[in-house]
Every structure is written in C-alpha cells, then in structure tokens.
C-alpha cells in the first residue's frame, strides 16, 4: 500500500498482527452485531431478522437488570475503597523504608495467585461455620460472623471484599513505584515547614499520584464492569438464587445453559458499546494528560 507510505518489506511487520486481530476480534465483533439483530431457531434451522426485539426483551428482563445493578454495586463499592487503601498503604510503605521489602513482597503475593485459587480458598474460609467466622467468634466479634456467601443480600459485597483482597497489592505497588519518584528535598522541605502527615498526603503525595490514580480508577472500573466473570464463576456461580449475577455471567448463562445465542449477543453488544464509550472518554482525557506530561 504505497499510498500509506509503507514499502513491501515494512508491511510484513504488520501482517501477522492484522491477521490474528481480524480473525479473533474483528470478524467476531461484526458477527456479534449481526447475531444481536437475529433470531436463530435451532430446531427449525431458520434465521430471521428481528431488529431490536432482543434488546427490547433484555431491558424488561429482571435478571439482566439485576446483573447490571450488581456490576454497578461492585464498582461503587470496590473503586473508592480500593483506591483509598492503595493510597494509604503506598504512602505508609513509602514512609517506612526499613521493613519495606518484607511488607512489599507479602502484599504482592495475591497478584500471583489465580482468581480460581483465591475464589476456592475464600469459599472455604467464608463458609458459615468456616475458619474466618470461627476466628471472629473467638475474638469476640461474633456479630460479624455472618453467612458471607449464603446470604443473597450480602453475597455480592463479599465478592467485592475478595476482589479488594486480590487487587490491593498490585495497586499499592503501582502507586508506590510512582511515589519513589518524589524528590526527597521536597519532603524534607515540607518537614522543615512543619507540615503534618495529613498535610503531606494532601499536598504532596496525592497530587504526585494524580495521573496514576486516574489511570488506576479507569482500569478498575473497566475490570469490574467486564472482567469479573472468573470471580463469580468460582465463588458463587451467580447464586444464591441469581443474587450475584453480573453482565458476563448473564451472557455465559444464557448461551451455554439456555442456548439463547441471539439474546446473549444483544447483551454482549451493550457491554461492548458501553466499553467503547468509556475508552473513548478515557482516551480523550488521557490525550490531554499525555500532552501536558509530554510522554509521546
């Protein structure tokens, strides 16, 4: 394609990636939109165009609405708590250089563990008569010994807690690496001026972290919106009842248990379009940040 300014030898650098990406991402996405407007009858082997009917049904489906709500619950619970804890622990770690290594290695361990391992482990730990409730009772916190995963009102929040446990180490390490870039002169100057701890957090650490906090929050929102399937599948399988259904589990369930391919596709389109919107706004504001910081 000489009009693009690439010569023949240069095309080969792009070709393998173009093939794989088209095959795995582009063609399926085009097909996804097509499927979402169709109704395939497997027994009669007919395919009919039904327009927006799948979407209309979806918006009236209580389970779907519950799934969306659970994603939103996870986002509104995990994002603020996780971000605040990441800031707190990265600052505390930054300020205690001496035992730094020990803490740092320990808190990073959950990052290596798979969601499957974490999920199975916590379902055992959080059983109603399980070890965690046993400990809580023995130290006088018996009122906290609730049915963590068996109570449909609480289960999704428990999943949120497990996600925080798993994700906190990575976020903290990420923030910490950014804090290491603060010049020690700046902190020394703040100390000489008599700035207390809180003041330093607000005026030095958080502003220094603002870029990465923004990045981390966006990433976490995207993850909680569309990458939580593994947690749900391992920990609750959507239960008890359908109290912990999320977007992804809803789609999986409709396709592979009920064979509602078209219906599930329209749900997947909604996920896709929402994500594109988030990415679009993220990129626009990122572009602004990048220009300011001159990364490119």
């Amino acid at each position: 394609m000489p009009k693009n300014g690439l010569n023949k030898g240069q095309i080969y650098f792009f070709l393998p990636a173009i093939i794989v990406i088209s095959f795995i991402f582009l063609i399926p996405i085009i097909n996804l939109f097509k499927l979402s407007f169709q109704d395939i009858n497997i027994e009669a082997r007919t395919t009919s165009f039904v327009g927006l009917q799948n979407y209309a049904t979806l918006l009236k489906d209580n389970v779907f609405i519950k799934s969306v709500r659970n994603n939103l619950i996870l986002i509104s619970m995990v994002v603020p708590v996780l971000t605040a804890l990441c800031i707190l622990f990265s600052v505390l770690l930054f300020e205690c250089r001496r035992d730094f290594k020990f803490f740092q290695v320990t808190i990073f361990l959950p990052y290596i563990l798979s969601i499957t391992v974490v999920g199975i482990l916590f379902t055992i730990l959080l059983q109603k008569n399980g070890p965690i409730n046993g400990i809580l009772k023995s130290i006088g916190f018996g009122f906290l010994a609730i049915d963590w995963l068996g109570n449909p009102r609480i289960a999704i929040l428990t999943v949120g807690l497990i996600i925080i446990w798993k994700e906190l180490g990575f976020g903290t390490t990420l923030f910490l690496s950014r804090l290491m870039g603060i010049s020690s002169d700046l902190i020394a100057a703040a100390d000489i001026d008599g700035a207390n701890w809180w003041r330093k957090v607000i005026s030095i650490y958080v502003p220094h972290l603002s870029g990465i906090i923004f990045f981390y929050i966006t990433l976490t929102i995207i993850n909680l919106f569309s990458w939580v399937f593994n947690y749900i599948y391992v920990i609750t399988r959507g239960g008890p009842g359908n109290s912990t259904y999320v977007f992804e589990f809803f789609i999986y369930n409709r396709v592979f248990w009920y064979n509602q391919i078209n219906y599930a596709s329209s749900a997947a389109v909604i996920v896709f379009v929402s994500l594109i919107t988030v990415i679009y706004f993220q990129m626009r504001s990122r572009a602004g940040l990048d220009e300011k910081r001159d990364i490119w």
Binding site: N4, E95, I107, S184, E248, Y252, A268, L275, I279
Partner: protein, 285 residues
C-alpha cells in the same frame, strides 16, 4: 533517600508515630498472610487431621496430597496443557507484537496514531464480548477443543498488551542508534532482533510475567473452548476438582498450591525486572 522523614518532635513521640503507622501495615500483611497460611499448611495435612483442626500447624506432616493429586483425574495432563498453551501463546504472541511495535515506532504511515490506539484498546476488550460469535466460528472451522483454537485467542490478547508498552519503549530508544545501524547496512528485522531486543530486557521480562499470569490463570476461555476432560487447563481442572473431591479439602489445597508454583517461579525470576519495570514506567500511568 536516607533522610529522616518523621519531622522534629521528641524521640518517644517519634517512636509512637512509627508504631501507629505500622499498625495498618501489620493488619494488612496479616490479612494477606492468613489465607495463604491456611492454604499452604492445610495442603500438608491428612484428611482427618484437617477435619479435626483447620488452623493448627500440619502435624503429622504429610506430602501424600501432593503425590495423590497426580493420580487423580487428569491432573498431570491439565498441568501440561496449561504449560503448553501458556508457553506457545506467549512465544508466538510476543514475536508478532515485537514486529508490530517496531513497525509502529519506526515506520511512518497514515493513520498511525489511530491504528495504534485501536490496537491498544483491544487490550481491555473482555473475552465475553467475542465469545459467542467466536464459538460459532470455531464450530464451523472445527477449532473447538483444539490447542490451536485456544492458543490463537491468547495470541490475540498478548499482541495489544505487548504492543502498547513496547511501542512506547521502542520510541524512547534514541534514533541515532538505529540510524547508525542502518548506515552499516542492517535491515529492519536485523536491527530489531540484534539491536533493539537486547536493550529491551526489562520491559520484555515484565510483560512476560504479566501476560503469562493472565494466560495461566484465565478461566473463561478454556472453560468454553476446551471442554473435553483431557483438554482442560489446570484452572478449569481445579474447579472440576472442587466439585468432585468435595470432602477431600487437603487434596484440593495441594492442587491449588501446585498450580501456583510455576507462576511463583516465573515471578521470582522476573521480580527484579518486574519491579524495575514498574519503577521505570514500563507499565505507565
């Protein structure tokens, strides 16, 4: 770096402040350590010992669970499946991404920025979006329950992730180095593998650790595309295990510990670069 950062107050107050600041860290570290302690120590207990006491040290100590796990179901096969898929997908995916990143950072063409943004944004496209049409496509092409089919999906996920970070890294390598190599008659492919690659050890190790973890630990893709029992990956196998060995918790724990070992080794090996990679901004905000 070594400057005292706790301000001027008296010594006792200073020590109290230090202790107060450590308390949250200790609580946090403890809450991380406890589940891990529970997992590892119980994997060395006999079944009856586990039933009687879940929280004490493993005494009598047994490695029976670790040996036994390999005789159960297709555990050994699952382990090999995971290793095979991870290694092959990582190798091919990273080579394709190296080429692409070199192309993005060195060649000029129209819509470069847009196509780079497009590739990078695929990184966060959740598998659930493509799974339904892909399942149908694979059904037609007879790619369901094949290594090739699953590996292709992971390659497709390795490419955007690597390309995003490598392109930025490659762009930061001084142009003069590449130009002098060009004058000496090096083609682009030679420059990439002889010159750029050795300079990129830190980001490459970082990306290898991160995407191996993703592939090794993933559940959704193999759950759908590798449904035959002997084709399962270890992670899917573990969920099967839990269903079938309901009462034999120490065996499940042993399986989980084994499933973590390869990634722990990789992480320990790559740790220096991984944390360095974070520090130098290979994973950048």
């Amino acid at each position: 770096m070594k400057k005292e950062i706790y301000g001027r107050p008296g010594k006792i107050k200073k020590i109290i402040i230090i202790i107060v600041k450590r308390i949250p860290l200790v609580i946090y570290t403890g809450s991380v350590a406890f589940p891990l302690y529970f997992l590892v120590f119980n994997s060395f207990k006999t079944r009856t010992n586990y039933m009687v006491n879940k929280l004490k040290l493993p005494f009598p100590f047994t490695i029976e669970n670790f040996i036994g796990v390999f005789t159960k179901e297709h555990f050994a096969r699952w382990l090999l499946n995971s290793l095979f898929i991870t290694i092959v997908a990582m190798t091919i995916g990273s080579i394709i991404a190296l080429l692409l990143s070199y192309g993005f950072s060195n060649f000029q063409f129209k819509q470069k920025k847009a196509s780079f943004s497009f590739v990078a944004s695929l990184m966060i496209l959740p598998p659930i979006v493509i799974i339904v049409p892909l399942y149908r496509l694979y059904f037609e092409l007879k790619l369901l329950n094949t290594y090739l089919g699953t590996i292709l999906i992971y390659i497709a996920y390795v490419i955007p992730f690597w390309t995003y970070f490598l392109t930025k890294f490659f762009a930061s390598i001084p142009k003069s180095i590449k130009e002098s190599a060009k004058i000496d008659g090096g083609s682009d492919i030679i420059i990439l593998f002889r010159l750029i690659l050795p300079l990129s050890k830190a980001p490459i190790v970082t990306l290898t650790v991160a995407s191996s973890l993703f592939i090794w630990n993933d559940l959704l893709i193999p759950l759908i595309f590798m449904q035959e029992d002997n084709l399962r990956t270890l992670m899917v196998g573990l969920t099967v295990f839990r269903g079938r060995l309901t009462m034999n918790f120490p065996a499940i724990f042993a399986g989980m510990v084994i499933s973590t070992i390869p990634m722990a080794i990789l992480f320990i090996y790559g740790q220096k670069y991984f944390l360095k990679g974070l520090l130098s901004g290979a994973i950048k905000g």
